[in-house]
């Protein structure tokens, strides 16, 4: 192994391999837009991208730009690294956020610009696009209280 190879491995997290059906998402991210596949027949957002709408069966789907506003559904602080990119970056957070456009419409991400103790389930966040590797931009989220009403999934507290 050469030093160059090692450096490359440490400088990027796992790199998305887009397919014909997911390319729009990463293209959007590179141009600073969060786009989600939406059924043109019944208006249901289908994420992860699939060739048909699981609500109505239509194959007429198209990417649409969404607001990028979301609510933290759950999160964790990874303390042990399982990939060399994260070896010197622990503890780092992994969060699942729910986009405000639709109950249950979620993305895995990292919350940035947030003091560790402030990260909470139910927190309101906004998408931000950050370069994390030599050729990789990811959609991350930062705290952005906007007085958004909480979504259905976050109202299930008993």
């Amino acid at each position: 192994m050469t030093m160059t190879e090692r450096a490359t491995a440490l400088n990027t997290p796992p790199v998305p391999v887009p397919t014909a059906i997911t390319e729009f998402f990463w293209e959007g991210v590179r141009s600073g837009e969060l786009r989600i596949l939406r059924c043109q027949a019944c208006e249901y957002f289908v994420h992860y991208p699939r060739p048909l709408c699981n609500k109505c069966g239509s194959t007429d789907l198209a990417p649409e730009r969404v607001s990028g506003r979301a609510i933290v559904y759950s999160y964790t602080w990874a303390v042990q690294a399982f990939h060399p990119y994260f070896k010197d970056r622990v503890p780092y957070n992994v969060a699942v956020v729910e986009l405000v456009e639709q109950a249950g419409l979620r993305m895995t991400t990292n919350i940035v610009d947030c003091p560790p103790e402030a990260l909470r389930t139910g927190m309101e966040v906004q998408v931000v696009f950050r370069q994390v590797g030599p050729e990789l931009v990811l959609p991350l989220f930062r705290p952005a209280p906007v007085g958004t009403p909480v979504s259905a999934s976050n109202e299930e507290k008993r």
Binding site: V15, P18, T76, A78, V79, H83, P84, V94, G122
Partner: protein
Amino acid sequence: MKGNDRVAAVGVGYSTTGRRTGLTSWQLAIQAATAALADAGMTAKDLDGVALLWGVAGPAPEGLDVVDPQDLGYMLGVEELNWYGTAGPSYIGPALQAVAAIKAGFCHTVLTLRIINQAVSAKDRMAGLTEPTPAAGDSQFTAPFGSVSPVQSVAALPARRHMDLFGTTEAQFGAHVVAQRHHASMNDDAIFRDPLTVDDYLAARYISTPVRVLDCDYPVDSASAVIFTSGERARNWQKKPVYVDSAAYSSVKYMTFENLDDFTQSSPFHAGRELWKRTDLRPEDVDCAQLYDGFTIIVFQWLEALGFCGLGESGPFVEAGHTRLGGRIPVNTDGGACNVGRRHGANFCIEAIRQLRGECGDRQVPGAEVAVWANATGPFSGAMLMTAS
């Protein structure tokens, strides 16, 4: 086609179990199969089916020997198999396939196995990653953000959600870890047998918050085997048969834990509802529950999913001592995979059978007649209810 009304488990066995045993997958499989045949008092000639799942946790290193059910039948000396199968999840896959095939009448006696060859540690695997790693398929939406281990997607994210929705505490997770270690202290086969306290638990290191190292099953090389047979053949063998009362398999959505619709009510809840629809027994009839503990949160999910406590109530339920031997529903009486080593569910089937045979010595649940065991979680899982008569 003529099927079979009942299915019984008549033989159980384990291979040598441990870290870096140096044994091949084939050696592990043959050891467990031989032990189960000996336990039943049968020879391979009495089998007409094999169902197994072979695997490693993580990608298999090149050259690692793979055990296939057709080959295994042949190698054991079964010249013609009436049934062979290989499907997950974990061990509940092969077990439910065997039960279904016997019920349908495709075969009468099936050897089932879960074989795990833990050839490479997580640390070694990480050291071997020297080039950018591709995140293909749905993992392109998870791995780039560092969700790269089941400890995050299967355990930490659902555990945090459970805590924030229901008020579950880390000390309550600890109460379970302490209780099942107490059970392990009465099991000669357990790898970890020293008692723990909740303070010991809270002092253990985090892997990914709120999941600690003591919440994770212990990776080992192991093979586990159970022989299922038709009701009419159940009494031909030397051990008291244990019967399958009902069983349920579940798949919800698709195989990405991070994108499940509900982190606190995934496939175990579906499997639980179906299990109770298929029997006249009720949760209060169950004498012990053997619930998959790949991670502690999964035990909590199954306690709720099977109706031993209400949704969100597993934390206080465990903390009150209801899952300890002598409690309302003793859970993981062998010590669980955190203490006996990773068997991906098979140890729970074997412990259920041993409890119903009355073979468990100090950890025996007195007069146990009904046991449930459950395996996997999230997008896929299953459960089986077994009875002593």
